[in-house]
């Protein structure tokens, strides 16, 4: 018999610090698989946001930098402008990207920067102990919304994939999930698609991945996966919100 | 009077609670106390530890490099804290999870306590921490064991009497074990 599934070679062979069942691990693997698939391990530069995935540089066998919280898209812009021929991606959480990093993600997308953004939406600030995120569902209890998120005080969960899809500079904006094998396979396609479009120089590509933070949701790992399916997806529908060869953005400088 | 102790173990072993109770009782007994946990990222990886200092004087440093004593509830903790205990100090070892052959110091007093096993016999391994605390207090007399047991109800306000009973038993059994070992 021959091996049909193994650890991608651009994923370092070591234990992670993630909680048991945290799909950050899955997302890491999907990105690594895309890097291997396009054989760009030596031509890829990763930018990690600050969050549970800040240690990305320990897990990927590629060049990488740790950006200040929320600023990964700006850092990636600087890198890409110097190395337009390299594959550049950011890996950010919902606090990082949808809260403190709102301005950077929107303007980077609007500039059509030819980078890929992997966005892990787990509806909380995982690393810092489960505080409310911009993506936290209405009524969801977190350490800073102890009575449940109340729109009158806290506003509404933001749908980033949809919002970014309204921007001209965006070539691809999609939302996938990782809560079961079927969805993981779709998510894998989405990540590949994004890297492929970047290779073609089509502009900004964005993949939102719904993820469970069962530790801060205070449920068992499997519970978390169910929640993603039953509570997150109804509010954060899966699908492609924009896919566009933007003539404007082709063959730059 | 000055006394410091580092308590350490796995996440789930109720280390912080032991430390909390010790500090609380010492405070009630009019002592100065500090309670200093390892926090943040260090906590990742699932080990927990907490330093408690009890003193009749103002307490300076809340951290201590060479405590009088330590309670180690699992092996990683033994590795880390056995060397720190100062000469002539005291080390309480949870032999249910620690192979006592792994201990090295000759110059400190050790109490080998099968905390989990005792707790198991009492019907719930979760109470291993209470067994250990009982034994520790009996041994060190930093605070009064009775006072500690008295205050269980207020420490666990909305727990059923049975729960209090069990924990009382756990502490007492731990204390007895320590007393026997002299």
């Amino acid at each position: 018999m021959k091996k049909v599934f193994e650890r991608p070679k651009s994923l370092v062979d070591r234990l992670t610090h993630f909680c048991p069942g945290c799909t950050h691990g899955t997302a890491h693997r999907l990105v690594a698989e895309a890097i291997d698939y396009f054989n760009v391990q030596e031509d890829t530069i990763g930018v990690s946001g600050v969050g549970c995935a800040v240690f990305m540089y320990d897990y990927f066998a590629i060049d990488a930098i740790e950006a200040p919280h929320g600023r990964a898209p700006a850092v990636a812009t600087g890198i890409k402008r110097v190395h337009p021929d390299k594959i550049v991606f950011t890996y950010q959480g919902d606090g990082d990207l949808a809260s403190i990093g709102t301005s950077e993600i929107i303007h980077t997308a609007n500039r059509g920067e030819n980078i890929t953004v992997i966005f892990i939406n787990n509806t909380v600030y995982g690393m810092t102990g489960g505080q409310m995120a911009p993506t936290t569902l209405l009524g969801q209890q977190t350490t800073t919304s102890p009575y449940g998120r109340d729109p009158r005080n806290d506003g509404f969960p933001i749908r980033m994939a949809e919002m970014l899809a309204t921007l001209e500079g965006v070539a691809y904006s999609t939302r996938a999930s990782m809560h079961n094998a079927k969805e993981v396979l779709k998510a894998k396609k989405a990540v590949k698609k994004a890297f492929e479009m970047q290779k073609e120089g089509l502009g900004f590509t964005f993949v939102e991945l719904l993820s469970a933070c069962h530790t801060n949701w205070r449920v068992k790992a499997k519970e978390g996966q169910k929640r993603v399916e039953q509570e997150l997806i109804p509010y954060f529908p899966l699908g492609v919100f924009r896919e566009k060869k933007n003539e404007h953005m082709m063959n730059r400088g | 009077m000055y006394y410091d102790v580092i308590m350490a173990g796995f996440g789930g072993q109720g280390i912080m609670l032991m430390a909390d109770m010790l500090a609380l009782i010492a405070m009630k007994e009019g002592k100065n106390v500090t309670w200093m946990p390892a926090y943040g990222v260090e906590m990742r990886g699932g080990t927990a530890n907490c330093t408690v200092i009890v003193s009749s004087e103002e307490i300076g440093s809340p951290v201590t490099g060479h405590p009088y004593s330590a309670i180690v509830m699992n092996e990683p903790s033994l590795m880390k804290y056995e060397p720190m205990v100062r000469q002539g100090g005291f080390l309480l070892i949870n032999t249910s999870l620690i192979d006592q052959k792994k201990t090295e110091r000759q110059d400190i007093e050790m109490l080998l306590l099968p905390a989990n096993d005792i707790a198991h016999e009492l019907g719930n391994t979760q109470m291993a921490n209470m067994v250990a605390l009982g034994a520790f207090i009996e041994k060190t007399k930093i605070v009064s064991l009775d006072a500690t047991i008295q205050s269980l109800p207020e420490i666990f306000p909305n727990r059923p009497p049975q729960f209090i009973k069990n924990n009382t038993k756990a502490m007492e059994t731990g204390a007895e074990f320590a007393a026997k070992k002299g």
Binding site: G95, Y125, Q131, N153 | M27, W35, G60, P62
Partner: protein, 354 residues
């Protein structure tokens, strides 16, 4: 006297804010101070207050600016990177003389850094990390009790001087538990704020700004600010002193380090070496006077910090006569042990005199 309760430093600080009548909190999460927003998000709504988790530290400080302009006692809290992001806003608040409390439970810097105890943000706090000629009123608690008391004090001085106040502490003070007495005293209600924006009903419209264009106006404003800072230097200095009248060395240290120093002082006494302590409680205004006076009588000063020598400069600036002064610091989360400090004391004593 009210009874003692065992509290975490961060919680004591949050309770201090409530005791001071602060009902508005705007902030963004960051370790090691998350206990503060987490506690207040539960408490403030109960007492008719407002808790908003802002989208960023920049939004936080600007919401604070708005609430302060509206006349409220208001606060935010963060740590290193977040405090850096607030520098523009803090400069604006200093410029438009808006009171508030900003809490910095330090983390290691520069950069993201870990959350081990450190004191690397002393310069930023005391030199106004923002642009322009201004200062914050900076408090450095050294116990959980002071986390409560100085928070109340900070709100009072902020209002009294219409100036941002800051609590600067290391993670140990935020995370440790100690017995605290939550003073019952009737906390001074915020003073009347005739300058605040309430809608111009029954009076002329008024505004708050920092841009002055007519000749000399801006310079006059800056000189007024300077006068205010000079008054603070004269009136509001706080410090703790210990054993100054009978010692051969004096240690100057703040926050957690001052407590480690106390342990060192106790231990070294057993060896017959008498060491005194000056602990600045306000970092701005800095206790220059007592240090200057002390330096006239005691020939040696040891400054200990958890950084590479920041308060050290203020100590040197305080001393006018030639004495032996030494610095010992551990940056990046290293904690000086009592043994370290005792060693340094001896080195200093054995230095051939100048």
């Amino acid at each position: 006297m009210a009874e003692k309760i065992l509290l975490k430093g961060n919680i004591a600080l949050a309770k201090g804010a409530i005791a001071a009548g602060c009902r508005y909190y705007f902030g963004y999460p960051i370790t090691p101070q998350n206990d503060i927003p987490e506690f207040l998000s539960g408490e403030l709504p109960k007492i008719g207050g407002t808790f908003i988790q802002a989208e960023s530290e920049i939004a936080s400080i600007n919401m604070v600016m708005g609430a302060s302009a509206a006349g409220a006692r208001v606060m935010t809290s963060s740590s290193g990177p977040g405090i850096s992001l607030m520098q523009e806003g803090m400069s604006y608040m200093a410029g438009s003389e808006l009171p508030c409390l900003v809490v910095n439970v330090m983390r290691v810097g520069p950069g993201l850094g870990g959350i081990a105890p450190t004191q690397g943000d002393y310069f930023q706090a005391t030199r106004g990390g923002g642009h322009g000629d201004y200062f914050n009123i900076v408090f450095a608690p050294a116990s959980v009790q002071e986390m409560f008391d100085l928070t109340v004090k900070a709100f009072e001085l902020a209002d009294k001087y219409r100036n941002p106040a800051m609590i600067l502490c290391d993670a140990i003070l935020g995370q440790m538990k100690e017995p605290v007495v939550l003073e019952e005293r009737e906390v001074s209600k915020p003073p009347a704020k005739p300058w605040s924006l309430t809608g111009a009903s029954g009076r002329n419209p008024q505004f708050l700004k920092t841009l002055y264009l007519s000749d000399g106006e801006q310079e006059a404003h800056n000189l007024e600010l300077k006068n205010k800072y000079d008054v603070l230097r004269k009136e509001e200095v706080l410090y703790e002193e210990k054993g100054l009248n009978d010692c051969e060395v004096v240690i100057v240290a703040f926050g957690t380090v001052s407590r480690i120093a106390k342990t060192a002082i106790q231990n070294i006494k057993k060896e017959g070496i008498r060491v005194g302590l000056i602990r600045p409680v306000t970092l701005f205004p800095f206790p220059t006077e007592i240090i200057r006076k002390t330096a006239r009588n005691i020939p040696r000063i040891l400054v200990v910090e958890m950084n590479t020598g920041q308060m050290f400069e203020d100590v040197k600036l305080s001393i006018e006569n030639k004495i032996k002064i030494r610095f010992y610091g551990r940056p990046g989360g290293g904690i000086p042990t009592p043994e370290d400090i005792m060693r340094e004391i001896k080195v200093l004593i054995n230095e051939k005199s100048v």
